[in-house]
Amino acid sequence: MDLIYLSYVFFKIGLFGFGGGYCMISLIQHEVVDNYGWMTSQSFADILAISQMTPGPISINTATYVGYTVAGLSGSIIATLALCLPSILMMFFVIRFLFKHKDNKYIAYIFSGLKPAVAGLILAAALLLMNKENFSDVGLDNKNISIIICAATFMASFFWKVNAMILIAVSGVAGFLLF
């Protein structure tokens, strides 16, 4: 039964996952953490960190990991295949239609609505991760180290474009020393 749900969920994510890996985070989070409860918000943040540190697309990494934790080896294979299946099925349509109508104005219209919404989707993914599970020491009588780490890494990434791997490594060391 798990395998059927896994393939259904990741097929859906592959079918609607516009706008790259960060956008898919929001879709995966909604299904895997909120709808099916296959993962806690905490382990979802962990797998995102691992995805950033290992090669390959975030969505494939997450599909493989979630599939494995839910149903073992067969789960990881099914989830990854289901994620890629819509792409394969759509190939026929795209080759026949899209390549011949590259500058189609309707596609431009669609993207004019999609682009700002995808930014909102990614924002929601970040907001949903801001909880007690991932920010364990937040409170007036606490040290609030996690908030300091989040603010500092945000500025380093946003303003100075510091590489994600470096930021994760530094935060890991900070966590080891301060918690």
Partner: protein, 177 residues
């Protein structure tokens, strides 16, 4: 040729960090500059189309480059090569990580990493809002989308469907008046 395609994408899948877009220059170098299987402008035309379709960007790129070069067998070889490294690496991580997850030192390290992951997702979302060149009239779209998902538990898929149909209808309406 299929095996070569498989090998090229396997190497690219195994060594590119930072998602699909980071791998583009590597694909271009291997397919266009070294092997000369596809012309430069043909390649970027293809990427422009691939960016508009849903799914895993790296897999889509592999599928279309592979198809262009050697038909369906080429597409299958390239996509398999692109997916295999991350699949195997994460499989190892999953097997291994489950065992050390509750270790006290690992737990402390990840307590530091989790807030950083939040920042790493927050930063590109703000950048995307900036680059979408929103006006005071359209800034409500990302904010409404985020609030509906975050506070009301709406499905992101629903937001995508509404945004695409909304954009299409709005574009047609503006053309029509």
């Amino acid at each position: 040729m299929c095996f070569q395609l498989f090998r090229i994408f396997l190497g690219i899948g195994a060594f590119t960090l930072g998602g699909g877009y980071a791998m583009l220059s590597m694909v271009e170098k291997a397919i266009v500059e070294q092997k000369k299987w596809v012309k430069e402008d043909e390649f970027w035309d293809m990427i422009t189309v691939v960016q508009t379709i849903p799914g895993v960007f790296a897999i889509n790129t592999a599928l279309y480059v592979g198809y262009k070069i050697k038909g369906f067998r080429g597409a299958a070889s390239a996509a398999l090569g692109a997916a295999l490294p991350s699949f195997l690496i994460i499989l190892l991580v999953a097997i291994f990580f489950v065992q050390i997850k509750d270790n006290e030192i690992v737990e402390r390290i990840f307590k530091g990493i989790r807030p950083c992951v939040v920042a790493l997702i927050l930063a590109p979302s703000i950048k995307m809002i900036q680059s979408a060149k929103l006006t005071w009239k359209t800034i409500f779209i990302p904010i409404a989308a985020a609030l509906l998902i975050w506070q009301c538990g709406f499905s992101p898929i629903l937001i995508i469907i509404v945004a695409t149909t909304g954009g299409l209808l709005w574009g047609m309406y503006r053309k029509w008046i």
